[in-house]
Symmetry: C2
Subunit: 411 residues, 2 copies
Amino acid sequence: MINIGILGFGVVGSGVAEVIAMNLEKLEKHLEQPIRVKRILDVRDFDDSPFSDLLTKDADVFFNDTDISVVVETIGGVGIAYEFTSRALSQGKSVVTSNKELVATHGVELLQLAKDNHCAYFFEAAVGGGIPIIRPLHRCLAANRITKIAGIVNGTTNYILTQMELSDMDFSDALSRAQLKGYAESNPAADIEGIDAQRKIAILSSIAMNGIYINPDQIHTEGIKNVGVEDMTYARALGAKIKLLAIYKSYKEGSCEVIVAPHLVDRSEPISVADGVFNAIAVDGNALGPSMFYGKGAGKLATASAVVADVLDAALHQSKNAHIMSWTYPEHTVIKPFEDMHVIALVRLKGTVDLNLYRRLFPNQQIKPVVSAVPQETAFVVGQEGTLTEKMLSEATSQIKEFISLIRIYS
Amino acid sequence: MINIGILGFGVVGSGVAEVIAMNLEKLEKHLEQPIRVKRILDVRDFDDSPFSDLLTKDADVFFNDTDISVVVETIGGVGIAYEFTSRALSQGKSVVTSNKELVATHGVELLQLAKDNHCAYFFEAAVGGGIPIIRPLHRCLAANRITKIAGIVNGTTNYILTQMELSDMDFSDALSRAQLKGYAESNPAADIEGIDAQRKIAILSSIAMNGIYINPDQIHTEGIKNVGVEDMTYARALGAKIKLLAIYKSYKEGSCEVIVAPHLVDRSEPISVADGVFNAIAVDGNALGPSMFYGKGAGKLATASAVVADVLDAALHQSKNAHIMSWTYPEHTVIKPFEDMHVIALVRLKGTVDLNLYRRLFPNQQIKPVVSAVPQETAFVVGQEGTLTEKMLSEATSQIKEFISLIRIYS
């Protein structure tokens, strides 16, 4: 009998209980033994939940239950979730989570604690919701050096951008619609400012770097607030979509480039199929070549599906000294400074401007005029061949008095 | 030290040796111990291979080497490959393979043999080449009932269809080009007749059925020989592409529909992004919802990447009684008979025909006229709502004297 304890009975936590009930027969066949949710810890009341008799508000009751061998942490945040996760792992109980903030912040310590206590710390659901990506990256692509990851990893911003594209809405109207539909929180800052995507690409980057921890705070991050209706007009004209991308590129041995920012993504790119709340993550390996994973990046049952898969894996590898990831802090900075990163961008200028006047600002660069998609504007693409740095680009545009804005181009 | 033996030093077998050499440092970090290819068994000579000193032609030398704990079988076919796989598993050595024919034919026995001998039989590379699909389906989606799989799983036919679509070639010209490029074999029958796809969907279906073995011979299979330039014209007119799809649908508890046939796939479907030799596999789970996996379905290093990932997994779970799949033969037929399967199809008729004349042949069906994409033809779509069976469709079309052909529509 596998006994599970759930910490936090919110959307994902209750989804975990539901998925286990819904697919119990299949799970027990997979495990070759019975499985049940034994206890749920939450400070709130859930009187009409079918699982209300499993609820306790007393953490000691939860942690002193020696039947529980796998703990699901779906509290979120880094406060009490960190404390409870540490407590469970210290007891030798495997912990499974969807908490990207905790993994991105304290992954090194928690993975070490799991190792020390011969149990597992799994977090498939922390990136891409229900899409298998952590295990495919760590296990299925283990024979590859990961050279690139480019992900649409935040459903809220992707929903907003898709609405802007399809309905010609501006950002704030699209945000309101997302809130109305329940796809954006009343305080949507972590999503629209790119913080959620930043945490997720930090996790994926740490795996791609073979366990060298990438600190999310060091990742240059831009949200989608400044994406306007005019940008969508250019996107359409160029056969592209605008997506908030979280990108990892291996740079040279032991270092990498990581960025979160809106990008023009050509419609021929496989990841461009992800519209609305869907996520897509492209991964390039030096043996595999390009690959892509697509699916629901959020939602109760989709996310719970990934959590429960981790529960099964943890249950099957109990006391077998399961091989789990191991992360370490880097000895020196491994992320290339933002200003040294290479960039290709679409630059928009006010009025009808002779681009020849600005060629001297971009030495050794091709400036490719783009037919303006907006009246009274001039636009061009600069940065072919990966020779233009962010620093060069921002210095040049700061000297152009007609400069409106720029948007990066994914390549 | 993990010692590997390779059976068959063809494209994939030599790719395995190459990938191990190329990414050795990463592999050893992942394993936390050294790994090497100890021996390679092949009857051919490979004098200029950097691995020639590892080659032996003597099977006894190979199998008596007690250092070898993981065997890679990249011989192909069901003859000697079956014999050698059985021999290795009986010795308690884990076997990893890309051999879809062997898995689809003898998977039940070989998985049982692995279980009996406390070792593993892994075949991630047998479907989707380098794309992680077997492990994601079996492990990452373990908490789901798999309701649908729809895959473009054969790179050769997808290359041919893409050429026909982009260059307006007919089938035989596109096949010649595929052979010239090395994407089709000189005897391309297994690919173009859909046999390769049939084996692959049989494997995926057996996993989706929780280990109830699906016999490839029971899967209705049509190849791509009859797809013509005119069909491509209709596809374009309908905003679709023609893809050879291998489809599994769970039908009711314990039974399923499985088919391999060319289908019209709407360009809004995520799998439609797979052009040329790329593969894409859509998977729907009852908790996850829709998902999709995309990448190189063939090729030396891509396929080897999946094989080596399996080698690592086998190495990490040695003598730990690793949890591996278990398949059993069904007690009764679980595949729905072809004639009872539901279908939506585009039907092409010679000349300008009054469709009202044929409505009585399709009782209770909507007949949706399609603007003919070819001069002197009439076309319509029939089969909305999943109420039309293959039997009803073939009986009806056999009574239409102007009938040219039909092509199924993926939905």
